[in-house]
């Protein structure tokens, strides 16, 4: 028996290790997806004043600090038992949408585009964002511009690009100025044009990837995401819905505080990433996915015209629910379109400019749950405090956690299809990494650890001796 280990998987945020075990005849016998870091925010926040949590948890990750700040603030508001002012609500969604634009642009242009623009089998030395800049400078420029658009909104609202201290329990700490609104509105048409161009080019290259689409984690699973009462997409508010692999609504309108009736977490051997599963089905069959594709599958519609038109076209091409993880990229682009539309709507709402942006209160409940749809999927913050507001207990379920079991299954499927024989085919191994990347996993978030990006692929025989090594 031979064993191939991919560690760490590159172009994801965090550290993962994939082990592929080959049977003696060279067929894939078994795969393992493991997350190898841990940081333990749950532990070291014990005893802190609860209202510090948005600031602390937004340090979990440099890619989506806004998501943690928002989910955390919502959990705090459940503890304070307050409803935040309408302007604060709108501004938070605005911030959140800007975060979507920048995060999805990062995932699409920087992390995944090298695979489908330069080719899965292209030279790994230049199969990265620099390779894109050289070969497709226009695409690279669009990616940079779109990301900048999102980042600048975050910066103008939150004053800081990465860690947004602007989101505070009870609302936000400063209103938006008419100048900022006008500036964003002024830049919006160009951002929309970029999204449009990107879509056009993505649809054109899609046909080169029929093999990937049908073997990239196309196993049917359940899906979960937040929707409003009509079933339209909700990124900031809404209640949880589960849809089955054949498209039936299994559970709907689950309020944040009841999540634990439906989601349980299994601890996996060798991995720091817990594996949440749908409780009524049990472990390990209660696999569900979250994130862009899951949201597309879960909702009735996006609720904005351009995104809904894209969803219609998507449905014609692939059907809904669509299962191939490769289509996460597609859904991510639709969400960029959606986020840009929402930004426009929110800036057009007169309440957004209101100067009353913060509610104040102390501890009025000893427990609080905050749920939002982070770019990578449903994010849950659950806190318990004592009478004085000191943190007693924390549970965070992040998007990559929800997807843990599904990622494992996708890896298995891709390995079975693309890894043949005991030789290290770089292209095949890249596909294995690429299916992990399709989920845009943020492993640093999931284990609440910080990560770096590099790849080491290892081929090990049954006695654990190194046979071959590839790195990119």
């Amino acid at each position: 028996m031979k064993r191939i280990t991919i560690e760490p998987v590159s172009r994801i945020e965090g550290h993962a290790k994939i082990t592929i075990q080959l049977a003696d005849d060279g067929h894939v016998a078994k795969t393992d997806f493991q997350v190898t870091q841990v940081r333990g925010f749950e532990k070291f926040t014990e005893g802190r004043p609860f209202y510090e949590m948005p600031g602390i948890t937004s340090r979990i990750c440099g890619i989506c600090p806004v998501s943690h700040a928002l989910a955390s603030a919502k959990a705090c508001e459940a503890i304070m038992a307050v409803r935040i002012p309408p302007a604060a609500r709108n501004l938070r969604e605005l911030l959140h949408c800007a975060q979507y634009v920048q995060s999805h642009a990062l995932s699409f242009f920087y992390l995944s585009a090298p695979d489908f623009l330069l080719g899965m089998d292209s030279d790994p030395a230049s199969r990265n964002v620099l390779g894109i800049i050289r070969k497709h400078p226009d695409v690279a420029r669009d990616g940079i511009e779109l990301r900048k658009f999102g980042l600048q909104i975050i910066e103008s609202l939150a004053r800081e690009r990465v860690h947004a201290s602007w989101v505070v329990p009870g609302g936000v700490n400063a209103p938006i100025t008419p100048q900022t609104r006008d500036r964003i509105l002024g830049e919006l048409p160009e951002a929309k044009a970029i999204a449009h161009r990107t879509f056009k080019f993505f649809k054109a290259v899609l046909d080169d990837y029929t093999d990937e689409i049908s073997h990239f984690g196309s196993n049917p699973t359940m899906y979960a995401g937040l929707v409003d009462q009509k079933g339209s997409l909700q990124l900031y508010e809404g209640a949880l819905r589960f849809r089955s692999s054949i498209g039936e609504i299994i559970e709907d309108q689950i309020p944040a505080e009841e999540y634990s009736q439906w989601i349980a977490e299994a601890t996996l051997r060798d991995s720091y990433l817990k594996a949440p599963y749908f409780k009524p089905v049990g472990f390990p069959d209660g696999v569900y996915r979250v994130g862009p594709l899951a949201r597309l599958n879960v909702i009735e519609n996006y609720g904005t015209p351009a995104a809904d038109a894209e969803r219609k076209e998507f449905a014609q091409r692939f059907g809904v629910p669509a299962h191939s993880s490769f289509l996460y990229h597609y859904a991510r682009l639709i969400e960029i379109v959606y986020a840009l539309e929402r930004i426009e709507m929110l800036l057009g709402d007169s309440r957004t400019l209101d100067e009353h942006v913060r509610a104040k209160a102390g501890v009025n409940a000893l427990e609080g749950v905050g749920v939002i749809e982070a770019p990578r999927g449903t994010l849950i913050h659950h806190y318990k405090v004592d009478e004085q507001g000191a943190m007693k207990w924390t549970n965070l379920i992040v998007a990559t956690g929800h997807n843990n079991l599904a990622i494992g299954k996708s890896v298995q499927q891709v390995a079975e299809h693309f890894v043949k024989g005991d030789k290290l085919e770089e292209g095949a191994l890249n596909r294995v990494s690429a299916v992990v990347r399709a989920y845009d996993p943020c492993l640093s978030c999931s284990t609440h650890a910080s990560g770096q990006v590099a790849v080491r692929l290892r081929l090990v025989d049954s006695r654990g001796e190194l046979l071959d090594e590839v790195s990119n």
């Binding site: 510090e52 600031g55 602390i56 201290s165 102390g362 507001g389 000191a390």
Partner: protein, 236 residues
């Protein structure tokens, strides 16, 4: 009327009143000496050792905040040695407790942090203590986080000298020293505390803070304390 004395600070001749400290003389003549435990209006205690200066004829460093001037004295406020010592003092403050600026309510408005960046401290050369310390959240309006306390005793002094409540005291010694309220009761149970918040405003770090402020939001106003103290002094 106190006598006028002449001294040199960094080579420049200045005059000051007898009974004034080197720090007062320096500040009155526009000279800068870094301080942390000193707060204008409260009795200086010479605790943080950041204001150390060199005096000709004395072969050790002296704290400017507590050392009275003498006629003909010659003081240097800057030198390579002083910079080295001041940096070490600050680094030792950082390692003693858990100062995690990034998630602190006082981030961006903290005197310890400002001092460190002013001194160009980019890393700490000693290993951290990482003590496990408590956060007293029992008061209805304020929080005491021992993780961020540098034992400057400004809270102790402002409460005793200005508010007259004398809630705060320092207990234990050395590395085990802590500020405590009343006879080591929870702050929220203190009978002496008048809820005035002067200690919070006097505190140079995020150790004492108003409840409910998020990261970076706690901005202190200790100029009021100085004004109040001088007014009181003038009336007395």
């Amino acid at each position: 009327m106190p006598k006028k004395l002449q001294l040199r600070i960094d080579g420049e001749m200045v005059s000051a009143l007898e009974g004034q400290t080197i720090l007062q003389a320096a500040r009155n003549s526009g000279k800068y000496i870094p301080t942390l435990c000193y707060l204008d209006g409260l009795t200086p205690v010479g605790g943080c050792r950041l204001c150390m200066v060199e005096v000709s004829g004395i072969d050790r460093l002296v704290p400017a905040c507590t050392t009275p001037i003498q006629d003909g004295m010659s003081v240097s406020t800057t030198s390579a040695k002083l910079t080295r010592y001041r940096k070490i003092m600050l680094e030792l403050l950082f390692i003693e407790r858990n100062h995690i600026c990034a998630v602190c309510v006082s981030n961006g408005h903290c005197e310890l942090q400002a001092m460190a960046s002013q001194m160009g401290i980019t890393n700490v050369r000693f290993s951290y203590n990482y003590p496990k310390l408590s956060v007293d959240q029992s008061h209805s309006r304020y929080v005491l986080d021992h993780n961020r306390c540098i034992l400057c005793t400004r809270c102790v002094r402002v409460c005793a000298e200005l508010e007259g409540a004398h809630v705060w005291e320092v207990t234990s010694r050395g590395i085990h020293a802590r500020v405590q309220s009343d006879l080591n009761q929870k702050w929220g149970e203190s009978r002496g505390c008048t809820n005035c918040g002067k200690c919070v405003q006097a505190c140079p770090t995020g150790a004492l803070a108003e409840k409910g402020w998020a990261v970076e939001e706690m901005i202190k106003r200790n100029d009021n304390i100085t004004v109040l103290a001088h007014r009181k002094g003038a009336g007395a």
